[in-house]
């Protein structure tokens, strides 16, 4: 089976590619890259005006299966990923039961095989049941295919266990993904501590609660030698800590979500919109600026969504009772294109680094790229396509998106995984 994608601007800084060219795909691999290609038989598609990049990956998603299939399941989550332009996702372990044994890892991988073409990778829990008390069976999960470990949703509170985990996990050469939140300081917090907590009479969640754990985990990373990846970083000071660690040559990386890049506490207004309730919370405008700058300069390695679907009836509760989180798979690319690429602050090359290459490199999984012989995992973007978030529905089962109603410019139209279309002309297959 052969496919010829003609006339797209093909961008891959890893292979010093950024020009209009044709790409031929055969048997799931990139067969040829060059001008005026032709194929004897197969499908030829005109991609002029589009931007073709190595397949994007979101290394932070909650697919809710097993256990909370009313919010999302593996099938709907993988379709949402395709719709958003992603070829691959990393599923977080806070399912029910928790993904803390090899058999649950196996279950998730098997379910994904019955779903659309989006690739799934699995993160296992650090602690049994995410209780933060004792190590989960990390080696068992590794053997079953897990590629990273995290108690995401909670920070590991016990510093002794955090150290033990990093010491243990480094034997598998997998990174620890760290959700940074010292619960003694966040307590019952639901919004950033400061202007918004004061104005709305809501319990505050101080930036220091995140920054203290970032500093702690960097120190533990140095102590143990384990690779450390800071999840959903939100503050200027957190970014500074990562910058210092990188300058010292430590194996530390971090990710940022689109909502923390582009939204801030001023978006949590007296309408008490629960789609703006996140963990960690939306911070300040100054933090937005620092995060965007750090994404450009590479201090932040990855854009990841923390896709956190919740049912409508859960988000319709009082702000203090509603669950944390928003969906992100279907809006991340549009947000980054609209607010950074089209603004001229982030290049397509940088977008490819942060959304395709860096996540795979950090997780030590098979790289993608626009190079002959590599897997045909590609994302094709229509950079001019204007759309209103939510106006044409969702592939996700949930609609709790923080960008609802905003106008975006640019969207993925086609996604190929191993040469198979998971989305074609905006329609997920």
């Amino acid at each position: 089976m052969a496919l010829l994608l003609k006339g797209a601007r093909c961008v891959d800084p890893a292979h010093e590619l950024d020009h209009v060219t044709d790409i031929a795909i055969k048997n799931g691999k990139i067969k040829d890259i060059g001008q005026d290609l032709s194929i004897d038989k197969g499908e030829v598609r005109d991609m002029s005006g589009k931007v073709l990049v190595p397949g994007l990956m979101d290394m932070h998603v909650h697919l809710r299966e097993p256990g909370q299939e009313y919010k999302e399941d593996i099938a709907s989550g993988l379709r949402a990923a395709a719709k958003g332009g992603f070829c691959a996702v990393l599923a977080m372990p806070n399912t029910n039961p928790t993904c803390d044994t090899g058999s649950i890892v196996g279950f998730i991988l098997n379910r994904a095989r019955q779903s659309c073409a989006t690739r799934i990778y699995v993160a296992g829990a650090i602690s049994r049941g995410l209780t933060g008390l004792e190590l989960a069976e990390i080696g068992d999960m590794y053997a079953a295919g897990a590629v990273a470990y995290t108690d995401d949703g909670r920070g590991v509170q016990d510093i002794g266990l955090a150290r033990l985990a990093m010491d243990y996990i480094k034997q598998f050469k997998s990174p620890v993904l760290s959700h940074c939140q010292m619960e003694d300081l966040t307590a019952k917090g639901v919004v950033n501590e400061g202007v918004v907590s004061t104005r709305l009479g809501l319990a505050g969640w101080p930036a220091a609660a995140e920054e203290i754990q970032i500093a702690r985990d960097i120190a533990l990373g140095e102590l143990t030698g384990c690779a450390l990846h800071i999840q959903h970083i939100t503050t200027a000071r957190g970014v500074e800590l990562v910058r210092e660690a990188k300058a010292k040559g430590l194996p530390v990386s971090c990710e940022v979500t689109p909502h923390h890049l582009f939204l801030n506490e001023d978006d949590v207004d007296t309408s008490y919109d629960t789609n703006m309730k996140m963990n960690p919370p939306l911070r300040t405008k100054a933090d937005n600026r620092a995060l965007q700058q750090a994404l450009v300069d590479g201090t932040i390695d990855v854009v990841a969504t923390d896709h956190a679907p919740h049912a409508a009836h859960e988000k319709a509760l009082e702000f203090e009772l509603a669950p944390f989180g928003c969906t992100g798979l279907e809006t991340a690319l549009g947000a980054v294109l609209t607010y950074m690429v089209h603004e001229g602050t982030l290049s397509y090359g940088q977008l490819v680094e942060r959304m395709a290459h860096a996540p795979r490199a950090l997780l030590g999984i098979k790289p993608v790229g626009l190079k002959v012989g590599l897997s045909a995992d590609v994302t094709i973007i229509d950079p001019e396509l204007g759309w209103v978030v939510g106006s044409d529905g969702w592939e996700s089962k949930s609609t709790n998106n923080a960008f609802n109603g905003r106008s975006f410019q640019g969207r993925a139209t086609d996604v190929y995984v191993d040469g198979f279309a998971s989305m074609q002309d905006g329609v997920v297959s």
Binding site: G194, T198, A203, G204, T270, S271, Y272, F319, E320
Partner: protein
């Protein structure tokens, strides 16, 4: 009658200074009615007011109930324990149920900030916030403003000190923005552990030394120490709190002649106020209670009075 610029009273910022003047002026006439032998007016006859109190409250609920009954409205009280909410019904569904019964006004007291917005979005009825979590208590604020206006003849330019647990106080949450709207000066006086993260956002100056500021204040507004709400205590002991931030006889003597003490009640005698400071003529807390009924009558009248259908006349 001018009415108000807002359909609901969800938070104090919905009102401008003209609205607040209108409410105070209207409340003055209702206060006279309340001092008569026959206290009932036919104004809201046939209208239905639901007091939806999902958090325990006696004085506020009683005040609203009296206000509605004195205006001849049919007042229904629904309290948390009697409600479906304890059986797992959501606030949205409770609101839809009440809406289906054609209520005209819902007065909501709830433990969660912003909950009146959920009602206002879901129902046709007007909504009054009777206290939402740690956010605001706007009708308390209106009766406080009424009290200040009656005593000083003005609100603008008054120097108001709010003493105590500002961080957890919905009373302060609405009083502070209201004082800014009315052009008064506000200072919060408390240990830092009882202050919100950014008092400046609410227009407040900050002082941690009560004795230094007391002689300058026109209004000393004492907040209740909410012992039931605090987890790990934000101050070492009630004794130390009373020493540093309580009003006692010595401190009473340092007040300006015309200064007043206010308190939203109920008082912890011997903590924020000594008995002498409760019982002094300077303390207007019972006047506040009385003003509360009149102000709530005024608010109900202004929110519902303009809306009459064909049968009413």
């Amino acid at each position: 009658m001018g009415g108000l610029s807002s359909r609901h009273l969800l938070e104090i910022e919905a009102l401008n200074s003209r609205d607040i003047d209108t409410i105070i002026t209207t409340a003055q006439s209702f206060k006279e009615v309340n001092e008569r032998v026959i206290k009932k007016l036919p104004t809201l006859r046939g209208r239905t007011v639901v007091n939806l109190f999902l958090e325990p409250s006696t004085r506020t609920r009683t005040s609203f109930e009296l206000a509605a009954k004195r205006l001849s409205a049919d007042a229904i009280n629904m309290s948390g324990s009697a409600l479906a909410t304890v059986k797992g019904e959501s606030l949205v569904d409770t609101a839809k149920t009440l809406d289906a019964m054609d209520c005209d006004l819902v007065v909501l007291r709830h433990a969660y900030a912003g909950s009146p917005h959920i009602l206002a979005r879901t129902m046709r009825a007007r909504v009054i916030n009777a206290g939402d979590g740690k956010h605001q208590h706007p009708t308390q604020t209106l009766l406080d403003l009424f009290t200040m206006r009656q005593h000083f003849g003005r609100i603008e330019g008054l120097n108001v000190g709010i003493v105590g647990d500002v961080a957890h106080s919905r009373v302060a949450g609405s009083l502070l923005p209201a004082l800014a709207i009315m052009g008064a000066s506000a200072t919060v006086i408390a240990p830092p552990t009882l202050l919100p993260a950014r008092p400046d956002v609410l227009g407040a100056h900050v002082c941690t030394d009560l004795d230094s500021i007391l002689p300058e204040l026109d209004v000393v507004y004492m907040l209740r120490v909410q012992q039931e709400r605090l987890g790990r205590s934000p101050f070492p002991s009630l004794r130390e709190y009373a020493q540093l931030f309580g009003i006692n006889s010595q401190r009473l003597a340092t007040l300006k002649d015309e200064a007043i003490i206010m308190h939203p009640g109920p008082v912890n005698r011997g903590v924020e106020l000594s008995s002498a400071a409760v019982d002094t003529a300077k303390n207007l807390l019972l006047y506040q209670v009385s003003a509360g009924v009149a102000v709530r009558m005024a608010l109900m009248y202004l929110l519902l009075g303009g809306e009459e259908d064909g049968f009413a006349a």
